[in-house]
């Protein structure tokens, strides 16, 4: 039983580290703010959450506290990413290689001054 837990924890740590590396690689390689935000969101949702899956299997920690921490990450990370993307759009940072802008008509210069 302990060996199974150790193997699952090892796989979770390796996968989480791989997700963090891919996210930071995207942060330094992708062309504009919005795509970089897409890559940075992977680090909190997949990278740290998979490390926290491994945490109660190797340490004397209840599964409840790890689940609370995963839930906090899943609430807080996307909220921060959406706030950053909204701020970048309101400041007017350009999109590279954009095919279309879905908010172009709905939230034009007149509509996006104040929420």
């Amino acid at each position: 039983m302990g060996t199974i837990f150790q193997i699952v924890a090892l796989l979770a740590v390796v996968l989480g580290t791989a997700f963090s590396m891919i996210g930071v690689l995207g942060l330094i390689r992708l062309p504009d703010v919005y795509t970089r935000l897409h890559a940075a969101g992977k680090v909190s949702v997949f990278g740290v959450a998979l490390l926290l899956v491994a945490a109660p299997m190797l340490t004397p920690l209840g599964f409840g506290k790890a689940l609370i921490l995963i839930a906090l990450l899943l609430i807080g990370g996307p909220a921060a990413s959406h706030a950053l993307a909204s701020a970048a759009y309101r400041i007017g940072l350009p999109m590279k290689h954009a095919i279309r802008d879905d908010l172009g008509k709905a939230a034009g210069p007149a509509a996006n001054s104040k929420p």
Partner: protein, 88 residues
């Protein structure tokens, strides 16, 4: 099995500290303010990962409590700064 686990955990810790250095460079030499803010948000998340890995290496769950506080309060600063920049 235990030796492989110890090696993987230490390697993951070193990789995460290296990724933290990359994010610090990103905050230092960002293209615009939102880019630097993404880097700062990612520094908080990776600090959480480092705390969890230290807890896994020492098999001591007291570090997870620190990570719990950081996760509960960390993203509020990012949201507040993003709102501030949007309203400027």
């Amino acid at each position: 099995m235990n030796q492989a686990l110890t090696f993987i955990l230490h390697a993951a810790l070193i990789i995460h500290v290296a990724l933290l250095a990359v994010c610090v460079w990103r905050v230092w030499r960002g293209e615009n303010a939102i880019d630097r803010l993404i880097g700062a948000d990612l520094i908080g998340t990776l600090t959480l990962a480092v705390l969890v890995l230290i807890a896994l290496i020492t098999t001591n769950s007291i570090y997870i409590d620190v990570a719990l506080g950081l996760a509960a309060l960390g993203f509020i600063g990012t949201i507040a700064l993003a709102r501030y920049m949007a309203d400027q």
